[in-house]
Amino acid sequence: MQKTLTILMGLMFALISSFAVAQDRPHVFEGAEIIPVVGDPISNGTLVVHNGKITAVGASGSVSIPENAEVIDASGKVIMPGLVDSHSHIGEGDGGDRSAALHPDVRIMDTINPTSDSFRRALSGGVTTANVMPGSGHLMSGQTVYLKLREANKIEDMLMYVDEESNIYGGLKMANGTNSIRPNGPFPGTRARSSAMVRNLYIKAQEYKEKVDAANGNSDEMPPRDLQMETLVEVLEGKRIVHNHTHRHDDILTAIRLADEFGYRMVLHHVSEGGQVAEEIAASGYPASIIVLDSPGGKHEAVNLDYEIGRKLEEAGATIAYHTDDPITDSRLFLRSGAFGVRAGMSREKALEALTIVNAQMMDLDDRVGSLEEGKDADFLILNGDPFSVYTQVQETWVDGIKVWDRSDPEDRKFATGGEDVFKNQASHSHHDHGGN
């Protein structure tokens, strides 16, 4: 009951805030090259948005313009969906501490600063939705949060619920490989110990779930509330997706082995040696959210990280997205990640999807964001050229039908370039000091 109330309140906040800000008049963008991502590019297209939603998109002339619409000439521009980042550390949040290696109870949601200038920085690069993750360095570092980059003073106004029934607005961050290994303390000292600790906890969660199922809604029969167990039951029920940091080829396969054993839904993250096990990843069905860096190395697990992982995974038939892992790569340069995929032979179509709709799928949000389709959230970018050209810049970023970033406004523009007193608290978050990414 308490849960239901929280959900209702959360939804009401979301509804009220979106109604309060969404424009009354429809906005029509005419004459742009429109890249809807789902569907073919439209060389001379029209986009109509109203009350925060896309109401029409198509070739100019084929789309009827509402009578009272504000018509904006977008000729010479490129319009594409707002970028969706499946792995980011913007927002100044934290996560699990050093008291344990497993923190499924910890919510990054409680620690995000909604007014963080890192959100403005991400908007300047075109990011409109992000999976903001607690830092790594744990087997489970906590619950992630799916955020719409709306202007907000409280985090509730930014949450993206995966559906209306559940109170889920994030995934669970997990990691394997060297990321969580420590010489002492409550942390595993080896990869095998890492797996054993994760499996033990999931077995406990399976037992907890059996008790919950057996209670069949009878509160007297329910096991005592346990935040860790409740989260893992959501994972076991497929409602909460695991986002699993993994680099080395054998660690990738270990992540797949564990997900298969417990039947949870998982996204593989980073996947630096994914090119070596591309067939296995494709066969597993787990999607891969990958990172591309200027050069390989910096730690043992990333020495084989090259530009070609996207192409190799595409050729193998795996589902691929790119992420920023901001601050490992800068949200302002997210389009660059897709371009580097193309550089190494990935198809342009897949590279565009990898920045948008596939990331949305990885968060169960693809019915609302990640493409320009009728009925979806009006999250889109206006660019001054090809998305994969270095010379192209985001001109405007729109979220829920509201222009939230505008390069022509000096107060917004400064977040795209940096400069005196533009960014505070931008120091790389501490978890990366002990082997993150």
């Binding site: 860096l293 390989p296 190395g297 910096g298 550089r343 010379y391 940096g418 505070k424």
Partner: protein, 435 residues
């Protein structure tokens, strides 16, 4: 030294030729090279050694480009370059240059001189980022000018190969930032299997830092003002040493500081905040050494002062992560300095984590996208860097008589989706179908 370089690059070329026979596609060649480089080198070296001298003498290459950026005057449309024995023999419009028989022909959309990374730690800070391969910073003492880059440079470091494949043919590398004086730097070409083969100039600068990062690495100095006091005292002692009798005992520290004071080598000072930049200029004025201002995140706040001091700026990597002394860095600084008439060079810098090295080609690209003039950026990566380092007689432009360091791109070099088709160093193809 030069003949050694030729020998080595000849070996590499033969290795690649062998690989070409083994594999049909360019991509396969590159992957195989990466994975089996050591094995193949070992197998091929002995056999190739005998062929190499003959091969080097016979190495005649013609390069044709739809657009050749020479960094010596205007770009040439549909141009030709002739290379003989490692040296550029001719460069000009194709209508004016006949390709003699016996020249191996390579063609590309866009051609540039080999790119110069004006400040790197590549070869000192390795790809694995473990204590074994990190030689860019010695933390036993905050002032160690006697540390030579040539004693730490690993010519076989994988990251050197990464840069080479991306068209960087010359690097100014050595000790990193983080100490008052961390040690010496050197200039190397991104080829060779030993520092002797790679080195262009064994001592180029002393790497120095002014700013808050020093206190992370040393108990003392723990403040900026203590660091400057220590540095000034050392320089004053070096002045006294220089004026001392000939019979005073040798002192490795003082010898190199005297070289600095005499203007034989640069002082490369990493300083990011406006106040640290001003301190740097104050020191330079007091001791009169040749200064390279490095990092300089807040250079745009003290541009007049930098211009007045007439010092080149090796600007921070454009995409440097924000934070600490560099939190006010801007994508636009390189363009602003360049427009103000200040010499700006690009660097890969030092990275503590991933990526372990940056790439000047990409850093310049983002600078151009944020207002820097295209041709100015290209000059900065080539002839401007060569002039600052005094190696413009050898490299930095495509002109007759210079060493043939040339990059062949399949499009605009700065575009994300452009790759290098070939990289030529000292007249030898050292990378095919690169990154």
């Amino acid at each position: 030294m030069f003949s050694k370089t030729k020998l080595l690059t000849a070996i590499m070329t033969m290795e690649e030729i062998k690989m070409t026979i083994l594999h049909t596609t360019i991509t396969n060649v590159r992957n195989s090279l990466f994975n089996s480089r050591n094995l193949m080198s070992a197998v091929l070296c002995i056999g190739v050694m005998f062929l190499s001298v003959e091969l080097t003498q016979a190495q005649k290459i013609a390069v044709k480009g739809e657009l050749i950026h020479t960094s010596a005057g205007d770009a040439i449309e549909n141009g030709t370059i002739l290379i003989n024995d490692g040296i550029i023999e001719a460069v000009g419009p194709e209508a004016e240059i006949q390709i003699p028989s016996g020249y191996e022909l390579y063609e590309a959309k866009v051609i540039t001189p080999g790119l110069i990374d004006a400040h790197s730690v590549v070869g000192m800070a390795g790809i694995y980022n473990v204590p074994d391969d990190q030689d860019q910073l010695e933390t036993s003492h905050a002032i160690q000018p006697e540390l030579r880059a040539i004693d730490g440079y690993n010519a076989r470091e994988e990251l050197v190969g990464v840069l080479r494949e991306l068209g960087i043919t010359t690097v100014h590398t050595g000790h990193g930032p983080g100490a008052v004086i961390s040690g010496q730097t050197m200039i190397a070409k991104t080829v060779g299997t030993s520092v002797e083969e790679a080195v262009v100039e064994p001592v180029t600068a002393l790497a120095m830092t002014i700013g808050s990062t020093i206190r992370n690495n040393f108990d003392s100095p723990g403040t900026r003002s203590k660091a400057i006091a220590m540095l000034r005292q050392e320089l004053i002692r070096a002045q006294e040493y220089a004026n001392g009798n000939d019979d005073q005992p040798r002192d490795l520290q003082k010898e190199v500081l005297v070289d600095l004071l005499n203007g034989d080598i640069y002082g490369m000072i990493t300083a990011h905040t406006a106040k640290d930049i001003m301190t740097t200029l104050r020191l330079q004025e007091e001791f009169g050494f040749k200064l390279l201002l490095d990092g300089a995140s807040e250079a745009y706040m003290v541009m007049d002062e930098i211009k007045e001091a007439d010092v080149p700026v090796i600007i921070h990597p454009t995409m440097m992560r924000l934070g600490g002394d560099g939190e006010n860095a801007s994508f636009e600084t390189a363009g602003k300095l360049s427009e103000a008439g200040i010499t700006v060079l690009f660097q890969s810098g030092y990275e503590a984590y991933v990526p372990k090295t940056r790439v000047v080609l990409y850093e310049a690209a983002i600078a151009i996208a944020n207002g820097m003039d295209y041709d100015a950026a290209l000059r900065s990566l080539t002839i401007d860097a060569a002039r600052v380092f005094g190696i413009d007689g050898q490299v930095g432009s495509l002109e007759t008589g210079k060493e043939a360091d040339i990059v062949l791109f399949n499009g605009d070099p700065f575009e994300y989706t452009t790759t290098t088709d070939y990289v030529i160093v000292n007249g030898e193809i050292v990378s095919r179908g690169g990154r």
